[in-house]
Amino acid sequence: MRGHEFLIGLRRKGWKPAMVFIDTQPDPARSWRLWPQVDLDFPQVEVLPDDALSSLDLRFLVGLRVLITGRDQRRVERLKDMCFDAGAACVVATVFHGEDSAAITTSSSKDKS
């Protein structure tokens, strides 16, 4: 996982963003690295394909709205449950299917906010 360190720093300083995007696909644009310079409102976190989900510390999401995207439905769904367990206020998960990602499946957890 990467891109979350700066968000943790923001939260320790007493700030929270409008929403957090979590991408479970490698991002060629490296948004996870660039977001602090581009837009603090929408942090971008990347969960790498070989990250062990069970070892991720997602406490930095407590009380935040989270949008997860990816292509591996089982992994996205599992991450959604983990975000919710970590105290996220609302989690929306979107899975892209097919070569052109034309089909999507979206699910959301209960909105606690």
Binding site: R2, E5, I8, L10, R11, R12, G14, W15, K16, P17, A18, R33, D39, L40, D41, D50, A52, L53, S54, D57, R59, F60, V62, G63, R74, R78
Partner: protein, 310 residues
């Protein structure tokens, strides 16, 4: 647009309160992932050493620290430099922090290892100078945006070196950082706590950024140089070998050539620790003076960096 709002949670306090809960987890959380992995092909992560015979047995994995240890003058900087060259031609971003050699000296040696020629072999006539310039330009094309140097001679503080490591990983996207050597980053040879703290910090940085850190270090003075050193001969705090993920020991056969048995190598590279791999053992290597490369067979071919670049 500025949608940053004052947090309604004291996040620092929340982190402290939930630290134990977040870290102590039931085994079931991990078993599901182990089940997911069943039937999936094993993906070999990381980069290999420059020699074919090690490709299936040893890897430099992201997030690890490798210790390159050896007796003074046995070629650990030469061998780690050859590895840096190989990694660079394999597409990795490499930074070299050598406190004993200036960047242009390191670069000159890498150019020699890459081209197989020393600068001295070329005469000063214009055609030779042009040939050498062409080689340098070819190298520059390959090294562009893949090779960096930390230009600092003498000593550097552990805190400053750690800051450089973070900068390399975060700002430059460096994947392999070579630090030559540990003793230039701590106060004294007997500063065991300083050594432990520095290596601990490097391990944390490697994990945080997924970077591989190569740390060059010395071996204690042995009773004779013919003895191949082991893990227990590493100088300084015993915790250094415990903390790093991999430990490689470079040994040079200093015996006169005519005093050797047939097949005796010029050097060995011993892997005495590989945390995330099964192999521990040694390989024999032969030194090619002209190119300053270590070869995997006696009189064998030079390492083909063009093949690595392909």
């Amino acid at each position: 647009m500025n949608l940053l709002k004052p947090d309604d949670i004291d996040f620092s306090a929340y982190e402290r309160e939930t630290e134990a809960k977040a870290r102590v987890r039931p085994a079931g959380a991990y078993i599901e992932e182990a089940i997911d992995q069943l039937g999936k092909p094993t993906v070999i992560k990381g980069q290999s050493l420059p020699w074919r015979k090690t490709r299936d047995v040893f890897r430099f994995r992201p997030g690890e620290v490798t210790l390159w240890a050896g007796v003074n003058g046995h070629g650990k900087s030469l061998m780690s430099g050859l590895t840096a060259l190989d990694l660079m031609f394999g597409g990795q971003k490499v930074c070299i922090a050598s406190f004993e050699m200036k960047p242009h000296s390191t670069l000159r040696r890498m150019l020699r290892q890459w081209s197989g020629y020393s600068q001295e072999e070329f005469s000063s006539d214009p055609s030779s100078v042009k040939a050498m310039r062409d080689l340098y330009e070819q190298f520059a094309g390959q090294a562009d945006k893949r090779l960096w140097f930390y230009d600092q001679q003498g000593t550097v503080g552990a805190v400053q070196m750690a800051a450089v490591a973070r900068y390399c990983a975060k700002e430059l996207g460096i994947q392999h950082l070579f630090i030559d050597s540990l003793m230039k980053c701590v106060k004294a040879e007997d500063d065991y706590n300083g050594q432990k703290a520095f290596v601990d910090e490097l391990c944390a940085i490697a994990i945080d950024y997924g970077m591989h850190i190569h740390l060059v270090h010395h071996i204690r003075k042995l009773e004779n140089e013919a003895k191949i050193p082991g893990k227990n001969d590493i100088k300084g705090s015993g915790s250094i070998a415990d903390q790093v993920d991999n430990a490689l020991i470079v040994w040079r056969n200093k015996a006169e050539v005519n005093a050797r048995k047939p097949g005796d190598p010029d050097a060995t590279l011993t892997c005495c620790k590989q945390r995330n791999g099964e192999w521990e053992g040694f390989i024999n290597l032969w030194f090619d003076r002209a190119s300053q490369q270590f070869l995997e067979t006696e009189g064998g071919a030079l390492i083909d960096f063009a093949e690595r670049a392909a």
